[in-house]
């Protein structure tokens, strides 16, 4: 009996190792394909070169798009986090007429297909006559990322003991001091998680962005997407690898700051 369980568990372990390898395979494939000297992409690589990276770094079109993606991601993370946190505070802390409707309204972009939000913004901008710029992209990205912040901060606020704030006020702290020294540190995990989600979603989005970009303001993922509709060569894998490395760096920063497990809500709070 014991032995049978052991065998079953070994089979399960082997199965899981295979699944995990498959999950990581496409990312490893992009990294390895990028060092191939041949122009036609091959896997496994048929040599070693960094020339595609130099080519990518020297290409102002793609580095410009990379810069736009980066600035847009940071601006989105900052504004969606600020606006979303304030709204979550109101939604969890106060009872007012229409609170449930408002909450559903703020979370609704999560259910709507991104394509619909994209075409709606495209038509709205062209109706009103707003030209595409980093700010028109920013507005779209705030709409699709703020719901994550609202939800994550709300979860953090729900388990919050309000007596801590009352005690601080009783001991002479001002409202602002209480917020900064008591409330903010406690909801910080949710806030940072929201910011991380907002950045990741904004930095990688194509489905919404493809509808509201203009030839002059294009993010890197959209540029790669458009490039692949016409050409397919090793250069594009070098660009892809740079995005992967960038994501890995972001991951390390988040891990150092709050712990990735907590960001994704899988580890107990008081780790």
């Amino acid at each position: 009996m014991k032995r049978k369980i052991r065998v079953g568990f070994t089979v399960l372990t082997i199965y899981n190792v295979i699944i995990y390898l498959i999950i990581l395979a496409p990312i490893v494939a992009v990294l390895l394909a990028s060092i191939s000297p041949s122009e036609a992409p091959v896997f496994p690589p048929n040599g070693f070169t960094l020339k595609w990276y130099l080519y990518a770094i020297g290409n102002s079109l793609y580095m410009g798009a990379f810069g736009i993606s980066l600035v847009l991601g940071i601006l989105t993370a900052l504004s969606a986090t600020a606006l979303g946190t304030l709204s979550a505070l109101a939604l969890v802390r106060y009872r007012f007429v229409g609170r449930d409707v408002l909450q559903a309204f703020f979370l609704s972009p999560l259910i709507l297909p991104l394509v619909l939000i994209g075409v709606a913004l495209l038509q709205f901008y062209s109706l009103v006559g707003i030209r595409a710029s980093i700010f028109t992209l920013l507005v779209g990205h705030i709409i699709i990322t703020a719901p994550y912040v609202v939800r994550l901060v709300s979860v953090g606020l729900a388990g919050f003991d309000r007596n801590l704030e009352l005690a601080a006020r009783n001991l002479g702290a001002s409202a602002w001091e209480t917020f900064r020294r008591i409330t903010l540190p406690i909801i910080m995990t949710g806030v940072v998680a929201g910011a991380a989600f907002a950045f990741i979603v904004s930095f990688g989005d194509v489905t919404l962005t493809v509808f509201i970009t203009s030839p002059k303001v294009v993010t890197l993922p959209v540029r790669i997407f458009a490039y692949l509709e016409i050409r397919y060569d090793t250069f594009i894998f070098a660009l892809g690898s740079m995005m992967i490395v960038f994501a890995a760096i972001a991951m390390v920063i988040i891990e150092r700051a709050v712990g990735l497990g907590r960001v994704f809500g899988i580890e107990p709070r008081g780790r």
């Binding site: 606006l83 075409v119 038509q123 995005m243």
Partner: protein, 290 residues
């Protein structure tokens, strides 16, 4: 006192105002305008004609070409949900049977590809599944087939790509449901004479059904709305609803028809969510949520 009460009432208003302003200008009106436009007429010569009719919806729902694409979108998404469920259940089960630290690490590994944009992950699949790629070379090297398997730019390639990106959502959903099962229940079944397999099939599996349903609905809805994977791994040959909408805006200019399709997409996605929600609340699993 009245002034103080009024001030208290104003606080939440000030807090939600910035986000509400953005939503009330750039979210609600565009969606409403899109909905209205979906009833307008269109002529290739004159452009958009502001006359109301139901023709855009009628055209989609009566033409077998469009219905075929709708049907393909539905069944592709259903297959993706099923693949994620079948492959993901043992993973969720395994993760839960790990000790704390290893468990956190395994969940992180499952989630880590989410940090990389879907364009790059599709790129990885393109090179892995290509006719000269490692998968086909392995298959042909083992003399399983003589010709490369038609995966890339076919429905099977799209299914693989979608299952890969939404796998994590299914596993997380299953974990949260499996976690809620009292561990003494399968143990009790074992004590009463059931073997491991019986205890799993008769106790653990039925109790995890809410997670199964929630995860399947989530993956289905995400797949129905996905655009990048069908576009890239379908190579323009596997047309799904989102790709059709994209074409309508980029290549043709019949926006009213594109709008009607975007709302059909919305009805499809939200309809499934509502149906599943009903079933979860009313059905025999309602007890699990109380």
């Amino acid at each position: 006192m009245p002034t103080r009460r009024r001030r208290l009432f104003l606080i939440p208003v000030f807090l939600v105002l910035p986000l509400l302003a953005i939503f009330l200008v750039f979210y609600l009106p565009p969606i409403a305008y899109t909905f209205i436009q979906s009833f307008y007429k269109f002529s290739p010569m004159k452009g958009i004609i502001k006359e109301w009719h139901l023709g855009n919806y009628g055209k989609f729902l009566t033409d077998s070409y469009y219905l075929g694409i709708l049907w393909r979108t539905i069944w592709l998404s259903a297959v993706v949900a099923l693949v994620c469920l079948v492959l993901g259940y043992p993973v969720a089960y395994y993760i839960l049977h790990m000790a704390g630290r290893a468990r956190g690490l395994l969940v992180l590994l499952i989630l880590s590809p989410l940090l990389v944009t879907v364009v790059i992950r599709s790129l990885g699949w393109i090179i892995l599944l290509a006719p000269t790629g490692p998968l086909n070379r392995a298959v042909m090297g083992l003399h399983i087939t003589s010709k490369p398997l038609p995966i890339l730019f076919q429905e099977s390639g799209v299914i693989i790509g979608l299952a890969h990106i939404y796998f994590a959502f299914m596993v997380l959903s299953l974990i949260s449901s499996l976690q809620r099962i009292d561990p003494s229940l399968p143990l009790a079944a074992r004590n009463l004479g059931a073997n491991t397999v019986q205890a799993f099939l008769r106790v653990t599996l039925p109790l995890s059904l809410p997670g199964v349903l929630a995860g399947s609905v989530l993956v289905f809805v995400l797949s129905v709305g996905s655009f990048v994977i069908p576009a890239m791994l379908g190579g323009g040959k596997v047309t799904v609803l989102t790709y059709l909408i994209y074409q309508q805006y980029i290549k043709f200019v019949n926006w009213p028809f594109g709008n009607a399709m975007a709302f059909i997409l919305l009805v499809l996605a939200s309809g499934i969510i509502l149906l599943a929600g009903r079933w979860l609340e009313r059905g025999k699993y309602s007890a699990v949520f109380q």
